[in-house]
Symmetry: C2
Subunit: 310 residues, 2 copies
């Protein structure tokens, strides 16, 4: 890594979690982006390389990792410091697993460490969200906050970044399923109706409040009854091949719940143990294999640490 | 009370709690309805008297207390038992404090005790909600559940009566304010727009989830930031004279939050201690006095017991 260099990791994340559109997300283990940061050869922040996705922009104002780090440096009047970063993309783009958010978090977290940690972790949220905004167009933290902080995170208010870490019940397992089809976040957003009925709001609210209560109570049965999205999933699931069938498979195999991760096409199941998680994942993989659709899966605990320095 | 008679109390309640339209409610102390039950002189359930509101129907099929108790007796094939009840209404009707729900709960709770408690308390919820439906027209439990069970109650789903008792933080005080103006629940319901924007839903959801988290964390600051209704209050507050001014007074006096109780015109404040509760109540009483509007107030803890037998 060269003189005084350091390396960080920021995890992938599942936004929305069925009942918390734009306000809930959780982080997963192992999958995520990395950033290496070191002293640069000339003034200013530079992206030296992007591994695995060389076509992504290296212009720091157009790259979520670069822009998040730049905003941090500007806030300290340090934008002319000679700093170089390498961005290592370990996850697909446009999969609905918070790829751009993980890069933004890794970028700002790495640079904050490199310059002596002037900000506490939680204070990096604003910079990371500004970075994420480059990819997404809107200022919201439902991927950035869990990737930075770890755990299951509630964003009470995106504008003020008022976030609350919710408890992750012991033993809760997550299955990520990603069929290899592409969905653009903008397309998935454009699909959504701008209004909902008061009845839908009441139903979703009851489930959301019960989901939060279930996390505090470690009540898996309540969690399962609450994981029921009557607003977003019925609209977005049309973009995912065979969504209803694979969801049924997951529920038959005793998943607590199954829905779309972020804007999709990735999906997630929450499960009460590893054995169930394996059954859910395998049944869906075989189903997609029969349909000649390539599909990866990954089983993880809820990641409790968020961004870390190696 | 005569031979084998018994008397019960069911408390008033505050439905909606700003961010949980149709899904949240809490019970208060001391204010509520009472039912005396005893052996009747002829077969069948009869309402012998209604104290304080003699104009309410004594027909058990048209009275929330009578109908709730009748549904319980029918479920056991006991509708021809000779049972008489007196209903003692200790609270105004149409105030938004769950008067009809308290009667329904008191009626069914009293009769269940009288016949030897064949049902557990929680099992009475369905009968009480059927009773409440007579007054309200719709099957929902946001007043009935807290009046029966006590505490702060979440109704995840009204249709299946899937309810969750949420923790009531120690020290939390409630102020009830009821200006003497009448609002009909049907009128207040008819006022509401049948649809909302997705943006409103996101904002309200963030606050609702944070409200639930704040109860579990006993975090009064988070509770205060979350008590912010962007959907129902702006529509219904028009029916309450000077709502915006008295809400401002409450917040200036350090209430954690201030909103409409049920369909109004009663309002409630949540406060972090008795001293603040007194200041909030007195400031609003004086304000309404200056405007020549009569107004009662009442300060209470969250009632943790719900319906009780004396």
């Amino acid at each position: 890594m060269g003189k005084n260099g350091l390396k960080v990791f920021a995890p992938a994340s599942v936004a929305n979690i069925a009942v918390g559109y734009d306000i809930l997300g959780f982080a997963v283990n192992d999958i995520g982006d990395e950033v290496i940061v070191r002293e640069g050869s000339e003034p200013g922040l530079k992206i030296r390389s992007i591994h695995n996705y060389p076509s992504l922009p290296k212009d720091i104002r157009k790259n979520t990792a670069g822009f998040a780090a730049l905003k941090l440096l500007e806030s300290l009047g340090m934008e002319n410091e000679a700093i170089e970063i390498d961005l290592i993309k370990n996850m697909g783009i446009g999969t609905g697993l918070g790829s751009s958010a993980a890069s933004a978090v890794a970028g700002v977290f790495a640079v904050n460490e490199f310059i002596g940690r002037p900000y506490k972790k939680r204070e990096l949220l604003r910079f990371a969200t500004l970075g994420e905004q480059i990819a997404d167009g809107s200022f919201h933290a439902d991927n950035v906050a869990p990737s930075l902080l770890g755990g299951i995170v509630l964003i009470r208010d995106n504008a003020t970044l008022d976030v609350v870490k919710l408890p992750a019940p012991l033993g809760l397992k997550c299955v990520l399923i990603y069929p290899l089809v592409e969905i653009l976040t903008e397309e998935a957003r454009a699909l959504l109706s701008k209004s909902i009925t008061l009845e839908q709001h009441i139903q979703q609210s009851g489930n959301l409040a019960a989901f939060v209560a279930a996390l505090y109570k470690s009540d898996f049965e309540l969690l399962s009854r609450s994981l029921n999205d009557c607003i977003i999933e019925p609209q977005r699931s049309k973009l995912i091949p065979h969504f209803d069938e694979v969801k049924s498979l997951a529920m038959e195999n005793e998943a607590l719940g199954y829905s779309i991760s972020g804007a999709g096409p990735s999906m997630f199941a929450l499960c009460s143990n590893s054995h169930i998680a394996e059954n859910v994942a395998e049944s869906i993989r075989r189903f997609y294999q029969d349909k000649k659709i390539e599909c990866n899966y990954y089983i993880s605990d809820i990641n409790l640490d968020g961004a870390v320095r190696y």
